[in-house]
């Protein structure tokens, strides 16, 4: 592979790993859809829950994280210049640690020693090497993340008193969010799960481990979302021929995500015992605050669409709607993702609402929600990025035919997602559980009803999954083509990394770039939201639980 820069090789390594796990994960997704709809049965050696674990880990954790790191490394290289040898080496160390951890965890899952789903709730007890693999993955991601922050710090040192590039700024916010969030999962894995699974301690505090998990689990979804938002804010205006609506507000949005996406894990634990109602309620309030930066993002996107359309001569209230480049996959993919994100955001508010969660908690509704947030808004933005990022990194061309196939790929994805997730939401409202193999519960009329609706019918799951599978295989093919087979670009014809200018030249308030302040406030919020309840969980803990292997 010919690449001009060593930084691009590092970024490409992450992207390559991402698509490898995308390939594995989407095959598992098809199998699950087919089983859940009652279309086929899996052989005994390949049980449903092992496939489900692989699907969740591959797509939700591995595809997303590797892709994000590849995108961020490419972007900070493009906007803040060549990385120092030390920074680049740190980036590689992180990459290899993540890969080693991943392979260890994958080996444990495939040998049936860790069929615990990607949430690995104790007291289901996986092999200790599964948890060690996870820890290695997380620590590796910290090492690579610190490399990015170091690159940003170097840039700041060389450019005193200048506002950092928006891409670098948002990268730092995203990595800080990730590192702070991972403290929770690191605590439960290192202090509770590893010693317990080795038998060094024989019992474990379940509620505490769940709480530490969800302290991490919710910001995790924002860690997936923020890089998609970066693409929306920074690149999409350029692609549609417009400008960034407001640079400062974009920065403020990211700060708000850092503050409000961490101290909110209890909204995943609303229907469980051991947490006082008032603490659950307080975290619900903090959770709903995350709606504000998402609303700002929605506004900025449509404002950019409108002003770029008007600058091209659009008339009337909605004339600009016709001026958008729908045939450009770099735009079409994230745009369809944005449309999915509207119902996804509303669903998110419902899930987080104090009493409404009871109706949908752990039903197929949640799986539907998950698929239109991460599986549509985030994944489709990543597809849009991949189509130019891969040839940008490998020095190849992106032809018109590729663009057409890319459009076909994202349309197949959108159709599949729409069919599958709509039905998941509806069947979930009727009470069908998530993360459950095909079952009619002894032909109980209530369970049989889940197969009879016009919209709410589990048979739509395999139909949607089939569309998604075709789309994903096309994506994998296009990735391989763009990475290894497409014609090399001539020097003056290289694929660009789209970066937009802000609409108004304005000075950004210095406070926005004072990370010490934001991290400080973040820790205060975490302490407020978690201090007393965690103290209670330890003081009034029931006797701990031994481990179980129930699969």
């Amino acid at each position: 592979m010919r690449t001009a820069s060593k930084d691009k090789q590092l970024a490409f390594a992450f992207i390559f790993a991402a698509f490898l796990f995308f390939f594995i994960g989407t095959i598992c997704g098809l199998l699950q859809g087919l089983v859940r709809g009652g279309v086929m049965e899996l052989p005994n050696w390949l049980n449903y829950y092992k496939v489900l674990t692989t699907h969740g880990v591959s797509l939700a954790l591995l595809f997303t994280t590797y892709f994000i790191y590849g995108f961020l490394f490419a972007g900070i290289h493009r906007t803040m210049g060549e990385m120092s040898a030390k920074v680049r080496a740190t980036g590689w160390i992180g990459f290899w640690m993540m890969l080693a951890g991943t392979l260890l965890a994958v080996a444990m899952v495939s040998s049936d020693k860790a069929t615990v789903l990607y949430t690995f709730y104790a007291p289901l007890k996986a092999s200790p090497y599964f948890y060690i693999g996870l820890a290695c993955f997380v620590v590796g991601s910290w090492v690579s993340g610190i490399a990015m922050i170091a690159h940003y710090a170097n840039w700041k040192k060389q450019h005193p008193k200048q506002t950092s590039p928006l891409f670098g700024y948002m990268t730092v916010a995203t990595i800080l969010l990730w590192i702070i969030a991972c403290l929770g999962v690191a605590a439960t894995v290192l202090l509770q799960l590893i010693p317990w699974s080795f038998g060094i301690i024989d019992k474990i505090n379940i509620l505490l481990s769940r709480t530490l998990f969800w302290y991490f689990g919710h910001p995790l979804v924002y860690f997936w979302l923020l890089p998609a938002y970066m693409y929306w804010y920074i690149s999409i205006p350029k692609i549609i021929g417009g400008k960034i609506f407001s640079d400062s507000l974009a920065r403020m949005t990211f700060v708000m995500f850092l503050l409000f996406s961490i101290p909110v894990g209890f909204h995943h634990q609303l229907v469980e015992p051991g947490i006082a109602e008032s603490w659950k309620f307080m975290q619900v309030i903090l959770t709903l605050m995350v709606v504000i930066p998402s609303l700002i993002t929605a506004f900025s996107m449509f404002a950019t669409f409108e002003s770029s359309g008007r600058s091209k001569g659009a008339q009337g209230l909605f004339g600009w709607w016709k001026k958008l480049p729908y045939r450009d996959v770099r735009f079409l993919a994230p745009f369809l993702g944005m449309l999915f994100f509207i119902p996804a955001g509303i669903g998110g508010i419902i899930n987080a609402s104090y009493q409404l969660d009871e109706i949908v908690h752990n039903t197929l509704w949640v799986a539907g929600h998950f698929h239109i947030t991460v599986g549509a808004a985030v994944a489709m933005s990543f597809f849009g990025i991949a189509y130019w990022l891969v040839p940008y990194l490998t020095g190849r061309t992106f032809t018109k035919t590729m663009n057409k196939l890319g459009n076909l790929q994202v349309i197949l994805w959108a159709v599949g997602m729409f069919v599958m997730s709509t039905s998941m939401h509806a069947v979930g409202l009727a009470g069908a559980p998530r993360r459950t193999a095909y079952s009619t519960y002894g032909d109980h009329p209530i369970a049989l009803d889940w197969f009879q609706g016009i919209v709410a019918n589990q048979l739509y799951l395999p139909i949607g999954a089939l569309f998604l599978f075709l789309s994903s295989m096309l994506m994998v093919y296009l990735f391989c083509y763009l990475a290894f087979l497409a014609p090399r670009a001539a020097v003056n014809n290289e694929v660009e990394f789209p970066l937009s200018e802000p609409e108004h030249k304005e000075t950004t308030p210095a406070i926005l770039e004072n990370w010490k302040v934001w991290v400080g406030i973040c820790f205060v919020l975490v302490l407020l939201a978690y201090g007393v309840p965690i103290h209670d969980m330890i003081q009034h803990a029931p006797p701990g639980s031994p481990g179980y292997k129930t699969w």
């Binding site: 634990q269 109602e277 519960y441 009034h540």
Partner: protein
């Protein structure tokens, strides 16, 4: 920092919407008592079968039209596997587990609890309609997770006969 006029309108609208949601939730939660399932009672998860009242799980009549129901969840079923309760009565479910995390969810109702080892989850419910209700586990608990269920028969006269 410059904020566009329309952006200010939009932010105000969004913020007021969220505050309205929160006020509604607060009123229904703390003045009407609409809290999701919970409970602060703890139990030794390895000794559930010897700890009263879970040593004899089942339905206990506690008042004129009130019942306590004690249920033990386990991989992969509930004890008892079937109960009968009258329609219109105030039923208080108390559920715990003797092994891993399960759930106690009755499709078509708001009863949807996570069951954690060491804790007792509690929720009150009144079945308005008589009929056959299904209880399922919707928290992954192992290879037989999708088999885990129990039946509730809701009878139509107040005496439960």
């Amino acid at each position: 920092m410059h904020i566009h006029r329309y952006e200010k309108y939009w932010l105000t609208f969004g913020f007021l919407a969220i505050v309205t949601f929160i006020v509604f939730m607060f009123v229904t939660a703390f003045s009407h008592g609409h809290h999701p399932a919970g409970g602060t009672e703890v139990i030794d998860p390895t000794k559930v079968d010897q700890t009263p009242p879970f040593d004899k799980p089942g339905v206990v009549k506690t008042g004129d039209n009130e019942y306590d129901v004690y249920i033990v969840a386990m991989a992969f079923g509930y004890n008892p596997a079937k109960i009968q309760v009258p329609a219109g009565a105030k039923i208080r479910f108390h559920v715990t587990t003797r092994d891993v995390i399960h759930s106690f969810s009755i499709p078509g109702t708001n009863v949807n609890m996570e069951i954690l080892p060491g804790h007792v989850s509690t929720r009150e419910h009144t079945f308005k309609e008589p009929g056959q209700y299904l209880v399922i586990c919707n928290e992954y608990c192992g290879a037989g997770h999708h088999m885990m269920k129990m039946d509730i028969e809701v009878l139509d006269n107040a005496d439960g006969k």
